[in-house]
């Protein structure tokens, strides 16, 4: 069971295969919970967000299209959205704005030495680590924290146009680098 791809396990998860479901959750729970915790900053809230993300992935499994990306990235996108909804619902959006998690792994010197990460994640980290810090921070604030470029501008006291340029350049560079490195499905 553990030799199966994420996508194969997800197929069983969506179809109600108990063994596949358990394996799928255990394989990705650290990533899902970790992302939830990075955004909501509270273990109890992160637990609820992570559980809700798995349930939504199961409920909306039919909308997953592996031609558009990996199931892990899709699930993490759901997690981010649930986490942002949770933060907004509690009126705590101001707490996270401009506050990029210090433990963001792209800051590590040698991403290949990060313990416990799978190859594709390590490759993303490596590419992220190669971005200019200002582009990386702007990109993380927008993609992970769900901020608008105007919000990033206001919090970081950087002109709005500059923030937009950083996000555009960062995303284009990331795509260009990842095309040759990440194993797209």
């Amino acid at each position: 069971m553990w030799d199966l791809s994420d996508e194969a396990l997800f197929a069983g998860y969506a179809a109600g295969d108990d063994q596949a479901a358990a394996a799928f959750v255990r394989r990705l729970e650290r990533k899902v919970y970790g992302l939830a915790l990075a955004i909501v900053r509270d273990p109890a809230d992160a637990h609820d967000v992570a559980q809700e993300a798995f349930v939504r992935a199961w409920r909306f499994a039919a909308s997953f299209d592996e031609r558009r990306g990996s199931v892990a990235a899709w699930l993490l996108g759901i997690t981010r959205n649930v986490a942002l909804d949770s933060v907004r619902g509690r009126g705590r959006r101001g707490d996270i704005v401009g506050d990029v998690p210090g433990e963001w792994p792209a800051d590590v010197d040698d991403p290949s030495e990060v313990v416990g990460v799978r190859d594709d994640a390590a490759q993303v980290m490596a590419v992220m680590a190669g971005l200019p810090p200002e582009q990386r921070d702007a990109l993380v604030a927008v993609t992970l924290l769900g901020l608008s470029t105007r919000e990033v501008s206001e919090r970081s006291a950087v002109p709005h146009g500059t923030v937009k340029t950083r996000v555009r350049l960062g995303l284009r560079k990331l795509r260009s680098e990842m095309e040759g490195q990440v194993r797209w499905p």
């Binding site: 729970e29 915790l37 039919a62 963001w104 993609t143 990842m178």
Partner: protein, 240 residues
């Protein structure tokens, strides 16, 4: 609303991919994407990259029992997803075999058991099951939840599981071709036993039939897998 050109759209493609546009800009961009496949592809690629970025998010160990909690919630949700309004079986005549449509496997062969190994027999469909009361049915779904057919189980030790997948052609088209090595049929029973056997070779006008040495009421799920272990479709039986 001003018509947006490709050069303009490409300049702001990252903003579109990240959902950062609002108002008229957003409306103009969406109108352009609706008619320009090249720009759609560009935006989709950038959106995919942004999603992959999340793979580098920090990991953390959830509290003990997290996975069990998720599975318990799924169990509670199951009746909701299968409630009226959810995708219906392709053939509403439960227990009856659809006819005249392409199905997963070939010709009906009169009552010939091809394999009988370890209590599970895999046979080309015969007419032997005709007239036997169906104990339970299962909607066959892909991993994405798409309904592609139906399975029925009947009889007592051995129980006969019959699988009809009239949506098979669409599945093969979508997922890029059938497995040349053939397929496997997996049947699970309530005692946790899971038996996997090669399915008879693909043909063109019949369904698969499997018998398992257990009462029909004990058969819980049936799945069709390829030689790489990928689940092409599966179904959970419900008394009907």
């Amino acid at each position: 609303m001003a018509v947006m050109r490709c050069e303009q759209l490409r300049d702001m493609a990252p903003d579109v991919a990240l959902g950062l546009l609002t108002g008229r800009e957003r409306a103009a961009a969406l109108a352009h994407l609706e008619r320009c496949e090249t720009c759609r592809t560009e935006v989709a690629a950038l959106a995919g990259t942004a999603d992959e970025l999340l793979l580098a998010a920090p990991e953390a160990t959830p509290p003990d029992g997290f996975a069990a909690g998720v599975l318990a919630r799924l169990a509670a949700e199951e009746p909701v997803r299968d409630a009226p309004g959810a995708p219906a079986p392709i053939d509403g005549d439960r227990g009856a075999r659809p006819s005249g449509r392409r199905r997963m496997v070939v010709a009906a062969v009169a009552a010939v058991v091809v394999l009988v190994v370890g209590g599970l027999a895999v046979a080309l469909r015969s007419d032997g099951g005709a007239g036997t009361e169906v104990a339970a049915t299962a909607v066959m779904r892909t991993g994405q939840g798409q309904v592609v057919g139906e399975a029925t189980v009947s009889g007592d030790a051995p129980a006969a599981v019959e699988i009809d997948v009239p949506g098979w052609d669409a599945m093969v088209d979508r997922w890029g071709g059938a497995s040349e090595a053939g397929y496997l049929l997996a049947v699970e029973t309530s005692d946790g036993e899971r038996t996997v056997k090669p399915a008879p070779g693909a043909g063109d006008d019949d369904g698969w039939s499997v018998t398992v040495d257990a009462p029909a009421g004990d058969v819980t799920t049936v799945s069709v897998l390829d030689d790489e272990g990928r689940v092409w479709c599966s179904g959970r039986f419900r008394a009907g």
